[in-house]
């Protein structure tokens, strides 16, 4: 019997020499022309690179915040996002090649971004981290972090749910690769005092989220609370609670116009608001201050944008703002 030798052929040479390891930050320090060589005083350019694909309702508000700040200060702001950390690093690499005046990065997976951020720092481009990744921000050389501690926010949600009488909570995780979501569930678990079950769903298929949550509520009558971690998922979960006729109380992280009206109607108990508009607006402000006045904000500690809670009491005012895309 003969065998086709393709696999073996490909297995061949594993000895390529003459390649130098990149080894993190130490390697290259590009000519530090970034900020000084900007052509005109007013034309600074900042890149916002997040871990969310286009069309995400939460990140769209961050984008609006960053763009509003850009308009306010007369600077150029570009927004890019990709959930795959490899692609996100490449976007950072690109911003470094373009010699932007500052980079804003959300770090859902800090380890994977370490090298790319290191390159930006080595090229003397100031970096502000936002949203996730507060723990690694300083070590990577970012000038500050703007966000909300996932753990603290999760604990806050757990307390509120406990007060509402929830004993068995379903925590709906919508992005398989995001550690922050798991931390929220863990935080809620710590303060709830009851059991927390996790349910894995895919945020890009909301019909499926509804049917999965419905199935879970129908099969486990003990569940009397649902915690969504994303506003679109919250609306899908609301429909699921209606469909299944379950008495479960619903709470969510983050806002959208729909979530706020659902809070007004009493369908959602409360929303943990991290005011993500600030996570777009403030970093551009900070970078602009850094560029023009060398200011750094936060004194080495993260700048907190939340948590705040939106309940029936303040939903009315927030509603108008959410529909304008700033809350």
């Amino acid at each position: 019997m003969r065998r086709t030798p393709i696999v073996l052929a490909l297995l061949g040479a594993l000895a390529v020499s003459g390649c130098s390891s990149s080894g993190g930050q130490s390697a290259q320090s590009a000519p530090a022309a970034s900020s000084a060589a900007a052509p005109a005083a007013a034309s600074a350019s900042f890149a916002v690179i997040t871990h969310a694909g286009a069309g995400d309702s939460f990140w769209d508000v961050v984008k609006n915040g960053a763009e509003a700040a850009g308009k306010q200060y007369g600077v150029k702001v570009t927004y890019q996002g990709d959930g795959d950390p490899a692609k996100q690093s490449q976007l950072i690499d690109q911003a470094v090649s373009e010699k932007v005046d500052g980079i804003v990065v959300s770090m859902a997976n800090p380890d994977a971004l370490k090298e790319a951020i290191g390159k930006a720092v080595a090229a003397k481009i100031p970096v502000v981290t936002i949203n996730s990744g507060a723990d690694s921000s300083k070590a990577f050389g970012a000038i500050t972090h703007v966000g909300q501690s996932e753990d603290v926010a999760g604990r806050g949600a757990g307390e509120q749910l406990k007060a509402a009488g929830v004993t068995k909570l379903l925590c709906v995780i919508h992005e398989a690769g995001n550690v922050g979501l798991d931390q929220r569930c863990k935080g809620a678990e710590q303060t709830l005092g009851g059991t927390v079950e996790r349910l894995q769903v895919d945020v890009s298929n909301l019909a499926d989220v509804t049917s999965k949550v419905t199935a879970k509520l129908q099969s486990d009558k003990q569940v009397n609370g649902v915690l969504a971690l994303n506003p679109a998922v919250a609306i899908a979960a609301r429909d699921a609670i209606k469909d299944s006729g379950s008495p479960a109380k619903l709470a969510t992280f983050d806002l959208s116009g729909d979530v706020v009206s659902a809070i007004k109607d009493g369908e959602i108990l409360f929303a943990v608001d991290q005011q993500q508009y600030l996570q777009g607006y403030l970093p551009i402000t900070f970078l602009n201050l850094y560029k023009n006045n060398l200011n750094t904000v936060g004194g080495g500690l993260p700048v907190n944008t939340g948590p705040g809670f939106v309940t029936k009491d303040n939903a009315e005012q927030v509603a108008k703002l959410a529909e304008a895309g700033t809350r």
Binding site: R2, R3, T4, P5, I6, V7, A9, L10, L11, G12, A13, L14, V16, G18, C19, S20, S21, S22, G23, A27, Q28, A54, G55, T78, Y79, Q80, G81, D84, P85, A86, K87, S89, Q90, L91, D93, Q94, S97, E98, N109, D111, A112, K114, E115, E175, A176, G177, N178, V179, D182, Q200
Partner: protein, 343 residues
């Protein structure tokens, strides 16, 4: 004395010989896409910019070349993208949680990947089910395994910390390091991509195995009738794709030192797109490895070029899709023209 020339053995000019190559359309697409972006963005045509867009092209290219061989052999592998994640997860999990050296963990990853490729190949050849369905099943199963096993072992959805594992420095330098050219760092993966393309091209054009691949993809019955070991060839192709997935998975894991459980999903179609831009037919029996490598460059240029031009990210996918459609159309037109020349 002149005999009536037999057109089958007529001397074919160089221009014609070039025109009937399957990758010609891709070369034209490459030039068009490059000129388009280079004329509008100075960064795109700078050394730094080239390093930027060759970076995604390299890992995509390794996969696209393997997938092209498989497609020439008449089959698809939809599990290839997720398998890169599986290989990476095995590598990082074994090296960080079970004390394996990076090399040993990579070896285990290779064995598992090849076993999955073998399983794909065996099921397809034994059951005669379409590989589209079989590997769709593998794709979903691996997706579940990646998440389920990772959560069960580590309690989280991403494993990281590979930097501290033994053997990391060397493995990183060989598979995921950079080389300096003209003061710009290029990814070592680019060399691996060139090597894989060269080996695949040699196999396709110069070896018996290459003839077999074209034969089983063109007409499996006829190939079998003239003594080609069709099943064996196809199984080897599935294993080659799995090998490439392992290589790419290892490169990415070593570079980013962490792997998410959901990585690689959706990439399988990008591999197929690159192979098709490069001149592969969806029906098999036709295509080229170099073409697939060029298809990967076109994808990398479009992917990064759109960002360099600063177009609004909300429209990004639209532009990307339109760009790919245009490249494929250009490819098609050139090929049709070339075939007219041939007759």
């Amino acid at each position: 004395m002149t005999l009536a020339a037999d057109e089958r053995v007529a001397d074919v000019g160089l221009a014609r010989r070039l025109l009937i190559r399957p990758e010609l359309g891709a070369v034209v697409g490459l030039v068009v896409v490059f000129v388009f972006f280079a004329s509008q963005s100075p960064v795109f045509r700078s050394l730094d910019g080239i390093a930027n867009w060759l970076d995604p092209a390299a890992t995509l290219g390794i996969m696209a070349v393997a997938v092209a061989l498989l497609m020439i052999g008449g089959e698809f592998d939809l599990s290839a993208g997720v398998l890169t994640g599986t290989s990476g997860l095995i590598l990082v999990t074994l090296a960080t949680r079970y004390g394996f050296s990076v090399w040993a963990a990579m070896l285990v990853g290779l064995v598992v990947a090849l076993a999955i490729g073998l399983a794909n190949g065996l099921v397809v050849t034994r059951t005669r089910l379409p590989s589209f369905i079989v590997t769709l099943g593998t794709f979903l199963m691996l997706q579940g395994l990646n998440l389920g096993v990772t959560k069960a072992i580590t309690g989280t959805v991403q494993v990281s910390g590979l930097r501290r594992a033994s053997g990391f420095e060397a493995a990183n330098a060989i598979l995921a390091g950079t080389i300096q050219i003209g003061g710009t760092s290029f990814r070592v993966a680019i060399l691996w991509w060139i090597l894989v393309t060269a080996v695949a091209t040699w196999v396709l054009m110069r070896s018996k195995a290459g003839n077999w691949i074209f034969a089983v993809g063109g007409n499996e019955q006829a190939a079998r009738a003239v003594g080609v070991a069709a099943a064996r060839t196809k199984i080897a192709l599935f294993m080659t794709t799995a090998f490439a997935a392992w290589l790419v998975g290892s490169i990415l894991a070593l570079r980013y030192t962490s792997v998410q459980a959901n990585i690689g999903i959706g990439q399988e179609f990008i591999y197929i797109i690159a192979a098709v831009i490069g001149g592969c037919l969806l029906t098999g029996g036709y295509g080229s490895a170099i073409g697939a490598a060029i298809g990967a460059v076109i994808f990398g240029m479009a992917d990064k070029g759109i960002v360099f031009l600063g177009w609004n990210a909300d429209w990004f996918k639209f532009f990307l899709g339109a760009m790919l459609l245009l490249a494929t159309l250009a490819n098609r037109l050139v090929r049709r023209y070339a075939e007219e020349v041939k007759h």
